[in-house]
């Protein structure tokens, strides 16, 4: 029963609430969003069941009279039941997690555009190596814009030049750490045009909370125009 609730949650376009989460703007995000809805629904269902049991025993078994209650200490079938059921639930959850993880971490062989993102204290540098375009934070607090096409896969190569940062776009439901000495690679496909706020989400020192940026998704056609008009430019 619990698993079927999860399965419903994982089917696309379901009627479940978002539980506060933002609606995702990437296909990878959709997969995580469905997993989130399913897990949260299942979690709440289990929660309500157990909270119910606790409150029931609190109200039902409050002290009445002075008879000595039953002193039973073991009930093996019951104990086995409540060991096996949780195991089944987590196996189910693990299965759906692996499914979603494969979608999210999938790296395609030929992305439409590659961007090298360099995080530094306290800003970002977006470099399109093929087109020789660079966009970076110039003065503290300025917010550079990462321009990407929709629909097609975008490759991000994420590096850091000083301490550990994290590339986080809430609308993508995704973040990845930028670690000095490590090149992290991930792909995403934006689903619709729009401008999304991005944040550094790994504490990186004094101006950590001012390390913001935008991701602007535009149609592939518009993106081509943008690339052509910015070719070779290093803009702020």
């Amino acid at each position: 029963m619990a698993l079927s609730a999860l399965a419903i949650g994982l089917s696309a376009c379901n009627g479940l609430p978002s539980y506060g989460s933002r609606h995702p703007a990437t296909t990878q995000g959709n997969s995580m969003f469905n997993l989130w809805q399913g897990s949260m629904t299942l979690g709440l269902a289990i929660g309500i069941f157990v909270w119910g049991l606790i409150l029931y025993s609190v109200f039902k078994f409050r002290k009445k009279g002075n008879s000595i209650p039953s002193q039973t200490q073991y009930h093996v079938p019951l104990e086995i039941t409540y060991t096996v059921i949780p195991i089944l639930i987590v196996i189910g959850l693990f299965y759906f997690t692996i499914q979603s993880e494969h979608k999210v971490d999938k790296i395609v062989p030929n992305p439409a555009v590659k961007v090298t993102v360099t995080a530094f204290q306290w800003g970002w540098k977006f470099n399109y190596p093929k087109q020789n375009i660079t966009i970076a934070t110039t003065n503290p607090g300025s917010r550079p814009t990462l321009v990407i096409p929709t629909k097609v896969p975008v490759r991000i190569n994420l590096v850091s030049s000083d301490v550990i940062h994290s590339f986080y776009v809430p609308k993508f439901l995704f973040k990845r750490q930028a670690i000095p000495g490590v090149k992290n690679t991930f792909d995403f496909n934006a689903t619709k045009p729009g401008t999304y706020l991005g944040e550094c989400s790994e504490f990186c020192g004094l101006h950590h909370d001012n390390m913001l940026f935008y991701v602007k998704a535009i149609t592939p056609a518009a993106f081509k125009v943008w690339l052509a008009s910015n070719h070779g430019k290093a803009t702020a």
Partner: protein, 554 residues
């Protein structure tokens, strides 16, 4: 004078009164586990209060968008020191303090195995804490790189300053104290049990302190090593974690979380133990599924050693399925514990004195922490919620349930044993309800904030992000929590000024600590009941009640 302790049968000798030092000198020289336990408890509660004030300052800063209540730099110090004091200097030592007082009593021992070592552990903890907190009084302020001090941010080019150095040294010293205490607990449990108290008859609290000690022995040396390496980078010019010198920053995360995740269970298992002591006593039933409960504790401890990198899912360099699977599996023994706790209450005769209220509060609050925790075991969900307020809310639900609800439950439960007095019931109940409301008002909004994408450790947010209202509700909740803590201080003061005497066994306890006077005499026992189960005193009382044929006393 060294006393060779003789074990005695019922009523064979009078409690002896030794002439000894009094006042400050008594405190400085005492090797009595009860004095040391109380010192631990009082010191850790003072640090808890300091850390609580820091938390209120953090919440006040977040009361308005783009607020300038404190400077950015000071805000970073605030959350770093709040986390550091709570995680390193409060949750563990508070549990070890209660354990120090209670474990020897529960197993019928006259003291801990190594009383002088026990005293040394306490002094190391006290001095370490003073040094850590003293960072606030240095020119550059206290440490400001977050409580887990990721390299290379924590290295001197990025975080220079004396406060940071003191942080490393202070926590290192306190950690050494924890290792020594853990050795002491294992030795005590192995060698000082009363006759008939086999391992499988030890009260659950003692079991959990024992398992916690093994965990501490496994992981605190790793923390000390990680800190020593980091300190070498900082002050000796080493390059263990700096890329330019050929070091590997990710290795620090591995070392740290290899300590850091079991530390969460070091902060949880003793408190599970407290709850498992309170629930049976106030249900008038033995613990349901005692053996399963012990095995679940061992399973949790074991699994907790294999899940460290679930804190590193977003690094992109760890094996996701391995850590995800083991993290999910921890839900199973934790679930078993829940059903055992409910089974203990099931069919009982429940009364709701403050310890019981706090224990039930623990169950209700911890469940939500557990559910959000299971969600975070999934890497794809963690990608969205890691390092946001969702995680902040999750671990506050877990840690407040354990250390605050179960911890205060333990204080209310054992305070009569430690002092011979009750804490005021009415004030205790008021404290519980205010805490319960304040806790949920503070941290449920943070769940939603995190789901919306508010990152943790941000001193500012902006009006357009729609974070304002939820943050304000959360801050109000934090103020409500502080009211409940003030009530506790008042309660303490009331019990000091107008004592309500409790007698040796006010709750009809199940375990041996209630078989001696309150507070217990030096070397603890003048007599012991026979031990035939994990609740020897309750067996004794049941027999008495059945013989009298009157049922439970009123």
């Amino acid at each position: 004078m060294t006393v060779t302790e003789e074990r005695s049968t019922i009523g064979s000798h009078e409690p002896s009164h030794h002439e000894g030092p009094t006042g400050l000198l008594k405190w400085l020289t005492s090797t009595d586990h009860k004095v040391i336990g109380l010192s631990y408890i009082v010191t850790s509660l003072i640090l808890f209060a300091i850390s609580g004030v820091l938390a209120e300052l953090i919440r006040t800063q977040l009361l308005f968008p783009d607020n300038h209540f404190v400077s950015q730099h000071f805000y970073n110090e605030l959350f770093t020191m709040h986390g550091s004091i709570m995680m390193y200097l409060f949750v563990g030592p508070f549990a070890f303090g209660l354990g120090n007082y209670i474990v020897p009593l529960q197993i019928g021992a006259p003291d801990m195995s190594f009383p002088r070592l026990n005293a040394l552990s306490y002094w190391l903890y006290l001095f370490g804490s003073i040094i850590t907190v003293s960072g606030f009084f240095t020119a550059g302020g206290a440490a400001d790189f977050g409580w887990y001090a990721y390299a290379p941010l924590s290295n001197s080019p990025f975080s220079p300053g004396m406060g940071e150095n003191l942080w490393y040294v202070g926590i290192g010293i306190a950690g050494l104290g924890t290792i020594l205490t853990a050795v002491n607990f294992v030795a005590t449990v192995y060698t000082l049990r009363a006759p008939g108290m086999t391992m499988w008859r030890m009260p659950i609290f003692t079991w959990n302190m024992f398992v916690t000690s093994i965990l501490a022995l496994l992981v605190f040396p790793v923390l000390t090593a990680a800190f020593a390496l980091n300190l070498a980078d900082r002050v000796l010019g080493a390059h263990v974690f700096t890329v330019s010198g050929g070091g590997i920053p990710v290795m620090y995360q591995h070392l740290f979380w290899f300590f850091g995740h079991p530390e969460v269970y070091i902060a949880a298992l003793p408190y599970f133990g407290i709850v498992t002591e309170i629930l049976p006593v106030f249900s008038r039933r033995p613990v349901f599924g005692y053996k399963g409960l012990v095995l679940a504790t061992l399973a949790i401890a074991g699994l907790s050693m294999g899940v460290w990198a679930h804190h590193m899912f977003t690094t992109g360099v760890v094996l996701l399925p391995f850590f995800s699977a083991l993290s999910y599996l921890i839900a199973v023994p934790t679930g078993i514990k829940f059903f055992n706790w409910i089974g203990t209450m099931w069919g009982g005769q429940l009364t709701f004195e403050p310890p019981m209220l706090f224990a039930i509060g623990f169950l209700l609050v911890f469940l939500w922490g557990g559910i959000t925790g299971v969600m975070l075991a999934s890497p794809p969900l963690d990608f969205g919620t890691n390092a946001t307020y969702f995680v902040v809310s999750h671990f506050h639900y877990v840690l407040i349930a354990t250390t605050v609800f179960a911890g205060f439950g333990g204080v209310y439960y054992w305070y009569p044993k430690m002092t011979g007095r009750f804490l005021h019931h009415g004030l205790g109940k008021a404290q519980f309800w205010i805490l319960f409301i304040g806790m949920n008002v503070t941290f449920l909004p943070q769940d939603i904030l995190g789901s919306m994408g508010m990152p943790r450790r941000y001193a500012h947010y902006y009006p357009g992000q729609h974070f304002t209202l939820l943050n304000q509700i959360s801050t109000v909740g934090a103020y409500i929590i502080s009211i409940s803590m003030i009530l506790f201080i008042i309660n303490f003061w009331v019990s000091w000024k107008k004592p309500i005497l409790s007698g040796p066994d006010p709750w009809l306890g199940h375990t041996l600590e209630w078989a001696t006077t309150s507070p217990p005499p030096p070397k603890n026992f003048t007599s012991l009941p026979p031990i035939y189960s994990d609740s020897p005193l309750w067996d004794f009382r049941l027999k008495e009640m059945k013989e009298k044929g009157e049922g439970l006393p009123r």
